[in-house]
Amino acid sequence: MSTSTPTTTERPERPERPEVTSDPRRVAGFGGVRLVIRRELATKLVTGAFFFSTFLFGLMAFAGPFVTGSGGDDDLTLGHSAATSGLADGVAEVAERGEGAGVSLREVADRDEATALLADGDVDAVVLEQDGALTVLVEDDLAPTLGTYLSSVAGDEALLDAATEAGVDPSVLAEAAAGAALQVEQVGEAFPIGDAMLGLSVGAIGLALVLLWGIPLATDVMQEKVSRVVEILLSSVRPWQLLAGKVLATTVIALVQLSVVLVGTGLAMAIRGSLPSLESLNWTVLGVGVVCLVLSIVTCSTLMAGLAARVERQEELSSVLQPAFAVVLLPIVAAVYLTFSFTDSIWFDVASLVPFFNTFALPARLAVETVPVWQVALSLAVAAGTAVAAFAVGGRVYGGAVLRAGGRVSLLEALRSR
């Protein structure tokens, strides 16, 4: 170890030693946790690196709706010439009667203008009359919906023309067509795909946040162990206080970043006019989802922090974190599978109640079916209990391993150690 004398400038007088008194009650219980949280936030949240990365995430979230073109502007635009305006009007009328995307119209002067508009993406297709035949110009492919509408309307017009030429009254044809209208009756339950995606997105966000912030937390725990700063910390606070402070601070940091991303996305959707109305949101799914999200972050982060205390080298970290990865990856895969393929099965109900799986499955299940209130309450209670149990086990492993130097500490040894 090299040493050097400090860079100092002699001062005429040394400040008087302050009278220092300490009150252990300040660091007892949550007081110690609060101090740890404050340090974690001061060194991780209030930093240029965090501001920069969060700003980037927010920017990406804001740009997302513009770049992907998602949102409410799903209408198709059909270009037409003066000669095909009747056909285009018919397409717009059919589209308006349907439940799918609407069709807006734009008249073009000639083929050149049509080509230019297609190249710019201003229209999805242009219908022209060339040499007495109808021609549809597209940039790449004809949108299936538009193709169906065009074929249908063009066919109707041809039939009408032929019937008129044959002396049939057009109103008789219209009456016959109206009588042939299909009545659609739904006998099954509609699958609310939007709500299902909302429910599953809770799990997906949880997974992303755990990976994004759980791994740095685990690395931080390992570095505190390697640098031995943990010895000083544990001489004044208990292991559980240190662990709780770190996990809660990580949860806060993750949620702050998530909030920025959501605000960015919401802002972009508002600008595009595609922000969903408050009435259309499934508030039950959202509310339960937020609780499940927080509990899953706390549970997984606690396990990751506890397990990370077993090792001193970065290359060993990922292998000891496997159990923590498993309790977040397996449930999200199961939740997706059950939501879409086994919606009505008992397994979906079970998954929404058992530890680790429930925080991912419950929001999705709530989104696609009615869940009895007692099951929701039971599931949340199980999730809270799981977080407490994870804290007890993770804290035990943490306390038993974090002071043990010299290679990886086995799980059994860490659990047994005092």
Binding site: M1, T3, T5, P6, S22, R39, E231, I232
Partner: protein, 316 residues
Amino acid sequence: MLRLSGITKSYGQRRVLEDVSLEVRRGELLGYVGGNGAGKTTSMRIVLGVTEPDSGSVTVDGEGVTAAHRARMGYMPEERGLYDTMRLHQQLAYFAELHGVDRRTAARSADYWLDRLGLHERRDNRLEDLSLGNQQRVQLAAALVHAPDVLVLDEPFSGLDPLAVDVMAEVLRDEAGRGVPVVFSSHQLDLVERLCDRVCVLKDGRVVAAGTVAELTGDERQQHLLRTTAPESAWAYLATDIDHRTDGTVVTLAPTARLDDLVDAVRAAGELHELRPWRPSLTDVYRDVAAPAAGAATPTGTSPTGTTSTEKEQAA
């Protein structure tokens, strides 16, 4: 007064501490010496409550150590432990607050120690920007920033340059001067000998010697270094122990013999080159009691709690 009584600790099948007892009085500097793996760090961690003993107790002024006592202890671990990217003042204030000091006082105390240790101009630097020597000063400040009532330092002098050693020694003396029991471990035995009031030697988890430096080095024993041409047979009857060294012969006079008798006997048989009082250094004592073959060595000094003891007594 800090007292460890009958501390025993094992990690798995490995016994790390065996019935360790020692005492550090208020205002006293205790040097805690022993080879690598002797159990010094573990016993210090037990004092701080970082590790729990399997049996035995730690008391401060006769009371079992509680969280309140620990809040008033200062600890400097062997392997330096601070946050690399935290700024010095922020870091020291944080450690003070962790010991229950209010926020404002913690900030003022952090300023004081940065100034006292010559780091006031670096108060807003990150720790990683400092040299290792200066980082060690910060480590010492972290142990002192809450004005502890007990100070436990594991290898505080390790790796320091001579000037930094002087600063560290001055600070430790000052702390002892205000009535704080100070215990520190070190492999620099000359420093321990110079600085400490008492010394405790640990070997394989057992206390094998303890006492004042004078007691351990045998000041009371009538030992002299003799250089002469006279044959040993001419004066050996006056000695109870004769030890040949490279710089002369160490003679332990028999209780009934006088120094004048030795001088006369030597001069009668040869030429007297040198005769002066001699006592072993702490390093010599340490080698005697802590060397692998020292199991049968003559133990020296008093018990950890101040009474005369022998190694056999300790082992028993």
